[in-house]
Structures are given as C-alpha cells and as structure tokens.
C-alpha cells in the first residue's frame, strides 16, 4: 500500500500529459459517456449470444462488464505509463502481418486455430509472471488484495456465477479464463487434431488455394482486403458454410474463437492496467508485453474477432500502435465489428 502512494507521487510529471491525452481522446468519439452506453449495450446483447459454455467449470466467463466504484475523476488522476510513447515500443520490429495473415495454402479455420493456440501460449507466459509467488511477500503480484476485482481501468469484468455476474478477484478470474481456454483448445471437438480430412477439388473453398491467378503466392498478406472481407463476415453468418467447415471444424468454431479472444483481451487489459509497471516495467519486460499484445491485436483486428466496443480499456494503446504503423493498416481496415 505504501508503495502505491509513493509511486503516484513519483509519477506526477506524467499526469499532465495523461489528462491531456484523455481529454483529447474524447474529441474522437470515445468519450466516457458514449463508451458507457456501448458497454451496457454490450452487456445486454452478448449475454444472450456469444456465451461460451464451460467444459470443466460450472461457471462461465461473464460477458457483462460493470464499472467499478472508482469515479472517472479518480481514474484520470492515475497516469498510465503504458500510454507513454517512450514505452509503447516492441521488442520485435517488422511487419506483424507477416505472422498474422493467412498463408495461401491454409484454410482459415485451421489458421485461426493455430493463431489462438499460439497466442494463448504467449499470454500464458506473461500471466505466469504475475502468478509467480514473490518470496518476499509470500503472494503473487496479482493477488486478492492487490486486485480484488478483475479490473482494467474504469472497467471491472465480472464472472457469471450461478447465472449472476459476480465480481471475483482478478487472480481467480484469470485462472478460470485459463482453464476455460485450455479446455477449449484441448477439446478435439472444438480444435480437432487428428489429421485433417483429405480434400478433393470439389470441397475447396473459393479463394482458398486458387492457383495461378492468385497474385502473391503464400506471402503472408496473400489474402487481399477485398477477398477477405466478404468471406469472413458472411461465412460466419450463413448457415450452409462457416469458417473451418472444409477442414472439419464445427459450426460454432468461429464464435468459440471470438469468445476466447474476448477473454484473452480482458487478461491483456488487466495486465496493462494493473501490472504494466508492477512488475513488467520494473523488470524491463514491457517491450515483450507490447510485442505479444501487438501480435494479438493484429490477429484480432485483421480477422475481425473482437468488437471495437470491447477494446475500450486499451483503445488508447491500440491507437498509438496503429498510428505508429506497428499494428498494420490492413488489420485496421479489416476491422469491422
């Protein structure tokens, strides 16, 4: 506790900048009131739709989000150093689309499954840092006292417990999310691992591997904005075809992926808002955190896996990375929902 007081005093120089930043952001239509409404709307509609069923737990991650007791004013006085450009850099340089874009000879469902599993591996590595028990204190950095709720700035995420959204401590929330995601990933009905069904020419999806007239064979950005936009939105919605169908993924796969991405985003949001400086910045691992987050956002936006309204807690950071061009333009232009 004493550390908190001390650090906010030390951080004063940055406050000014941050308040400025927040107020200027309001000019961009992401003001507090508006996002407030968005989120309420989100809570209302998503609770009925993309509700991830739990394989191993009775409770499911709630889609609802609620404001914590903190008022906006108090919130604004807490400077967010992760929004400081000096720190908004990655340990990895280059075009992140390289690793995100669907390769030419790979079906989209197969590719999204791969991305989710790999991104979960990264996130797990980061979360383990705040789950490690500090031998000086006997508790992990993310514990019930430091993080009594799963919060990210003004937002507090709740977990559905016996049908009701409940505020549970962040460490419990994160562990539940991890178990839920791993349960999905290791469920062969959701993420099949047996060798894929052999495909004859007739079952090929258009635009999948269409041979010679494709402009850039196998380059990571092979799927152009125009071709990608329409299958993604439509395939998910129509009943006769869906993402991953030709590779044997089930109908709900796309929604499962979106659900996992949503929960992973919440973990990132908590990591940034509550643990960016403590410990990541102090142990000089904030650049790695950024690399993972940028890759995660590139994939999530490029494949339109996360609604914009859900990005609120880290929108400022996303804006910075977009402006820097670190999150590629293509990811921004593909991001519809």
């Amino acid at each position: 506790m004493s550390w908190m007081v001390q650090s906010s005093a030390l951080l004063r120089p940055l406050q000014v900048a941050d308040v400025n930043f927040l107020s200027s952001r309001q000019g961009f239509g992401r003001g507090n009131t508006k996002s407030n409404q968005n989120l309420k709307a989100a809570a209302a509609n998503s609770a009925t739709t993309a509700h991830p069923p739990m394989p191993s737990l009775t409770n499911s991650p709630s889609i609802s989000s609620a404001y914590s007791a903190q008022s906006d004013e108090i919130y604004q006085e807490q400077p967010k150093k992760f929004l400081n450009e000096r720190y908004a850099k990655c340990s990895v340089k280059g075009n992140f689309l390289t690793l995100a874009a669907q390769p030419k000879n790979v079906e989209l469902g197969e590719w999204l499954a791969h991305q989710v599993v790999e991104m979960n591996r990264l996130l797990t590595g980061l979360i383990q840092v705040i789950q490690e028990v500090d031998t000086n204190t006997g508790t992990p950095l993310c514990n019930e006292h430091s993080c009594p709720t799963m919060s990210a700035g003004r937002l507090t995420y709740t977990w559905l417990e016996s049908g009701r959204p409940a505020k549970i401590p962040a460490p419990s929330y994160i562990v539940r999310v991890q178990r839920w995601i791993v349960g999905k990933i290791h469920d062969p009905n959701v993420f099949p691992t047996d060798p894929p069904p052999s495909r004859d020419a007739s079952t090929f999806m258009s635009g999948d591997t269409n041979g010679s007239n494709s402009p850039a064979p196998g380059t990571p950005i092979a799927a152009g904005p125009t071709t990608l936009k329409q299958p993604l939105n439509q395939l998910a919605g129509t009943s006769d075809d869906w993402v991953g169908r030709s590779s044997g993924f089930n109908k709900n796969f796309h929604n499962d992926v979106k659900g996992i991405i949503k929960q992973m985003f919440r973990c990132y949001a908590h990591l940034y808002h509550n643990h960016w400086d403590n410990p990541f910045w102090h142990i000089n691992r904030h650049l790695e955190l950024n690399s993972c987050f940028v890759h995660f956002m590139t994939v999530s936006m490029y494949y339109d896996l996360i609604p914009k309204k859900d990005m609120e807690p880290l929108q400022g950071l996303v804006d910075i990375f977009v402006a820097q061009g670190v999150i590629p333009k293509e990811a921004v232009s593909q991001h519809q929902s």
Partner: protein, 637 residues
Amino acid sequence: MDENNRLRLNFQFDNQHQADAANARFYPTTPSTFPQPIYGQQTDQFGNLMSPNPTQQQGYFLNHPYTQQAQQYNQQYGYQQNLQSPQAAYQMNARPYMQSPNDATGGLVQQFQNQDLSAAPRGGQSNRTPSPATSSRPRPAGDPRQPYQSHLAPPMPKQVQKPEEEEQPNPHKYSDNVVKRGTAAKQLVNAFFQENIERARDRNARAKELDAIVKDPAVSDLQKQNAINTLAQKEATFLRFIRTRESPQNFQTIKIIGKGAFGEVKLVQRKSDGKIYALKSLIKSEMFKKDQLAHVRAERDILADSKDNPWLVKLHASFQDNAYLYMLMEFLPGGDLMTMLIKYEIFSEDITRFYMAEIVMAIEAVHKLGFLHRDIKPDNILLDRGGHIKLTDFGLSTGGRKQHENSYYQALLKSSTNDKAGNRHSMAFNETINLTVSNRSQVNTWRKSRRHMAYSTVGTPDYIAPEIFLGQGYTYLCDWWSVGAIMFECLVGWPPFCAEDTHDTYRKIVNWRESLYFPDELVLGRDAEEMIRGFLCDANDRLGKEGGAHDGASQIKRHPFFRGVVWDQLRKIRAPFEPKLSSNIDVSYFPIDEIPQEDTSAIHRAQAKQTAPEQDAEMSLPFIGYTYKAFNAFQNS
C-alpha cells in the same frame, strides 16, 4: 564501459540487419520486414537494470546513449523502408501499406521517431530544466498535426515540477524467482517470434514450389489440382501437429535400443498412426547436474536447423515434461558403425573408403551448417535402411561458441594416476584390461568393454583431437582428426591411441608424435596410411585445413585415397553392408541383450514431480524454446 557496451550492441544490431537483408534476398517471397527480436537493445537495457549500482541507471536517460539509441531507431527505420521495396515489386498488387516515405503513416512513424530524439535530455544527472517537449505525452491517433506540434516544442500547460524524481525501474523490489519468470517470458516471446518467422519462411518456400508446378504448362490440370490439394493437406496436418501437445504417452515402447548416463533411446511406435520412431529421452536433473544443458540445446538446434539433410539424423520433434527432454528422431535400423566394427573387426580398404567418403560428406554438411561436431566416433555414425551413414549425437556440437568442457578435460589430465580407481569408477569402466596391441584376445576384451564406455557419462576419448584436451582452442579441424582415428580403426582393428585406461589414452593422444604406431604385421596401402597421417597430426598441418570450415572437405576429397569416388552419387550406390531386416521394427542390429529393458522412468518422474508442478515444464528457464516440430515429421517416416 557502459559506452562500449552500447556501441558493441549497436554493431551487433547492424549485423543483424545485414543478416536480415541477406535472408530477404534469399527468400524472395518473404516480406523483408519480418518481425525481428531486438536482442541487442533488450540486453542493453536489462544490463542497465541489473547493474549493481542503481545510480548507473541514470545513464539510460543521459544525452549520449539516448541519442545513440535514437540513431539506432533511425537506422532501423531506414532499413525497413529500404527493404520494403523488393517485396512491393514482387507482389503484383502492391499494397498500400508499403508506403512511400510521404505516406501518412510513414510520416507519422518518422515523427514519432523524432519525438524520441527530443526526449533525450530528460532526467539527466544535472539540475538542468527538462525539455518542455515532453515526448512522453501520448497523442491521439490519426491526427497528423499533433505530432508536429509537440515536435516543434509546444508550450506545456503546466511546468513539470520534479523531473529528477521520475521513477526508475527497480527489479530488486521483487524476489529473484519473479524476475526469472520475466526472463522466461522474454525467452518465450523471442522463441515464439523466431519460430513463427521460420515457419512463415518455410511455408512461403513451399508455396513457391507449388506455384512453379501450377504455372508449368507441361503439368496437367489434374496433376496441378492434386499438387494443390496435397500441399493444403500437408499444411493443415502440420498446423494440427503443432497444436497437438506431444507427450511420451502418445508412443508405445517397442524396445530400448540404447542407454546412457543421461537417458535412453527407445524404438517407439506412435499410437495414433503406427509410425515408427527413435525416441531419445534425457533426464533433466542429470543434465543439470552434469552441466549438459548447452549440449542438449546444441543438439536440438543443429538438428532443427538441418531440416532435410540426408547426412544427419532427422529430428521430427522435440518436447519435454518435468522429468525428461525428448527428441523424436527417425529410426535407423542398421545400428551403428561401432557395432559393425565389433562384428567385423577389420574392413577392407574398399569398404573403408566407402565409409570414410560418406563420413567426409556428413562432416562437411555439419560444418556448412556452422557447427563443429567434436564428438565424431563410430558410436555416433548410424546406418540407415540401405546401409548408408547418418551422423547423430550432436550433444557436443557447438556453433563455435562454447568451449566449456575444456576445464573438465584439463582436470582429468592433471589428476594424478593415484586416484585412477576413483576415476575409473566415475567412468563406469571397471574392467582392467592389460592391453597390448599385438594381443588379439585382449583387444577383443577391450572391444566388448567399449560398449560400456559408450554408455558412460564421458564416453570414449579415443577419437578426440589433442587440441581439445589441451584447451588451446580448436577449430573445425578437430573433426577431421576424428575421421583419421576412425579410419585407422577400420583398417587396423583398434583405435590408434587405445589404452587400458582413459588417462593413458589422453596421454597417448597428446603425445601422438610418439604414440602413433602402425602395426608391422599389417600392410596398409600407401595412400591410406598417408591419409591417416594427414589427419592424425598437428592442426596446422592437418588435411582439410585448406579451404577452411566451409571448403575444407574439398582438399580431403582430392586425396589420392579417394580416387574414383563419385561424391554426389554416394548415397545412391549400394552400401557394402545392407542391413537385412525382417520388419520395420527389426532391432537385430542393436545390442538389445546388453541393454537392460526395464522402465525406470517412474522414478525420475516421481522425483521431478516433487520439485516442479507439471504445467511449469515448458516454462522452466533453461528449457524454453526446446520444444520443436518439423514440417515433415509425420510424412514418409
């Protein structure tokens, strides 16, 4: 000191650029701006953080280093711009993000970088007032004017009051294990990006191959479609294979075909598809104790790098659990050259020529990959189905960096003959053999005992070059010495410096001038003897020195002993000994009788469970990035 460090890291960084540029040329389909882990910078900062004197951390914000860092960014930026052009050219529809420098985003990036420069004077040691252009102020995205404004020193609404109190990173506020977790996360992230970049490259190469087929007018449409389908199938299978958690439970043990101090090699069958592999398992705790981590890492790296090299044993996957590291390799049913030598005692010159020629090719391949093997010996030369050789056991291979056994060998050399008994014990070599070269029966006793030696911690020193023992540094030439020693053994029947105990072997090798002796009763061909002497000599005079690490083999191939060898056809001719196999799990070429078959894994597993929880296996610091999967792992094995 700090200054030098930074400079060096900057240079390193530049080298990395050059390497990337080279790669970009090599893979024309690959966007040249692959994300690249920036090790230099990280180490740099971490070094600062970990410095014992916390005041040094101020240095991070001092003018000079920071400016350098900014220059580094600029270089980097320039680099990215440069390398984007070839890609845009390659792609028919150049994408908008391949922006010209005038492009809005590109411009923004540039301004951001400038912003960085202006931040340089912040928080110096002196009491100077901070620059008003607090670059740290975040700006909204999409507003192109904003950066300009702050770059041109905008007035700050309020004066920053005590900039020197700005918080400094302090890793010491956490216990060491937390910091270690952070390091583990960093390694995980680096490994993730490296691995996925490599996969993207390989995938692009495969797509390019397919494209060539598709564009080939001579190929029928049906064949084209088949090629497309086959590759799609393979790519999908590979992605699923990556997603599948590999574990020893996926395999059924058929026989234990090798056992050593660090683990064992088993012939296994994958339960799901019935495919046959050799599964090498290494006990983590033993590796720790014996300081073998660098070795196992080197082995995994070289095999992962070598991909489809015909001269090296194929590594299909590497994985781990708490107790073991696993390497899933192709099963070579022909056994090894050691077993062959035990069986036949002596080879004719023609047969010797065949094996030597193949060994030369294999070592050349290792050297071309940038590794030294350092432990070439008959036990590590395996025979495949057709009787052709493949090298294995790269545990001692290095990329030319570590020399860490030197101290070990030095200690052995210096230890007095008085503690021979104890030493012998540690070598698991208990039979005392009074060996004289002319005594055949005793040579045979030695021959039998050598298998024990092979399974012991240190292995046999018989084939190791003197310069390795002497600790004066060594080069790729040490592998050619080993070839000479093996050739001697093939023709003579025992290794040139064999002795009743390891100590004497060391001494004989170091004093090779006196101890190298060709038995009178055997007449070797002139070329053969000359070649052996060409290998078993001072590194400066050794055959293979001409041409260096990458072309040393050329000189050897020209040696009169190899006259008539068609080097690029070697693997296609019939081998002198072709294994006669009854099935694909025939282990008759392995000394199964001499290997205890009981399963001891439960003990190690139980021990490991006490120390670390299961989920941590992948994340325990020294083993991060060990897990690996090869694209062709599941095909035609």
